[in-house]
Amino acid sequence: MIRFTQIASFALSLLVALALIGLWHFVASARLVPPIFLPLPEKTFDALVTGMQNGVLLDASLATLRRMFFGWFLACLAGISLGALVGSSQKLRIYVAPMLETLRPLPASSLIPLFIAVIGLSEGMILGVIAFGALWPLLLATTHGIVSVEPLLIEVAQALAMPKHKVLWKISLPSAMPDILAAMRLSLTVSLILAVVCEMLTGSEGLGQWLLATSRAFASTKMFAGIVVLGLMGYASSLIMNLVEARALKWKSAAN
């Protein structure tokens, strides 16, 4: 019964999505919006297929995907380890936590000019911007997750005379996992945005540069194809994070 309603609601929402694409087709073909601003859906799809087949759009997408992933990976490494460090030392927290909280609202994109000034227009600069920008949510979430570990668990560990690194590895990090995973999802979104912005600014091959170049040439079907690819990337990374979350937090739902 539950299965049936699930399938029915999925089918319904798929139907609505198809109907909306139909509406898009109608609006575009009736020229309610100039075709340069809203190309036909089937022409967008053609541009997408052509771009993927001749490799130009494919290469741009792969370049963006690579930057997003490596920058995010660096951010995860640095953010989680720094967060674990700050979270497990109260002394360190007194000194740096207020500073970190103050820096958090600063938009990562506003730091791009500073990174360009210091590192120059290079691939390393782009990775640096992504890693630095995506690091904040992870750093703060890991710190918060470790600070708010159930005190009873820590007392048990102390009674068992567990060494500090074992407490971190076996108790603090696992119980901070929900916070960390939520931050990993947010960081992935930040990474994709920063990758695209950096490509727009530096002109390096990638979807950001693709979007800017196609819009300047008023090649709107190609531009829409790029937007669709970016939307798919956003959707796919969200689905992957859903799977990772479901698997990594299985122990938690089983315990309740």
Binding site: S9, A17, S110, L211, S215, G231
Partner: protein
Amino acid sequence: MSARKPDFRPFAVPLGLVLLWEALMLAFPTASETLAPPHAVILGFFGIVTDGTLALQTAQTLSSALGGLAIGFTLGSLLGAAFGLWRWFDRAMQISVESVRLIPSVALIPLSMMVFGFGTRMEITIVAFTTQWPAMVLARAAVREVEPRLMEVATVLQMSLLQSATKIVLPSILPRLFVSLRLTAGVAMIVAITVEVAANPYGLGAAILAAQISFRPEVMLATLIWTGVVGAGINQVLLTTQNRLFRHSLPGGGGSE
């Protein structure tokens, strides 16, 4: 010295970093084309304050961010409330909403630029598009958690949709709606700055980039720091208002820590 007075400890590290920065710039003066020492940044800040450029750029960024926020927050909250009230509507729209919501906001910059050209309107459009999604998610969650008995009361009293919306739903979600406003205001600032850095020759974001390109590192850093201060200031004002108005109705003081 600072270790004995606990109140000053949070300032020790930032102060140390600023002094180190000043010392390094003194030791390596060749870096001054790309970076500026703290004292030059302070002078640069007074320069852009007195000639009025900073005020103009701040006004440009704020008008785009707040204008976009007003549109995006209103649309998103209404949509979220509708999704929260009618589950079937939420389910029916799920694939459509998710596939549009997860498009990175910056992907729409070139499209918006084609339609509106440079300036406020293209920026407002992107800010509105981006802020509506978190506003939608938070309003939906808030409406779903309205006490079911209150909704039963509305049914028993045979209230019309408008009546139950204004007399039952709105008052009970108001505190959480304000939290949502504060969070989406942060998003609005970030998006506005990002659009300005990426494409729009306008506001604080573009000023930071322009100062870097024209080798005025002291202006770049002063504007950068000011951007952070403006963002933190908006958050602080909204947080204070939130604590004053809704302290008793939000769990855990509503994230006052």
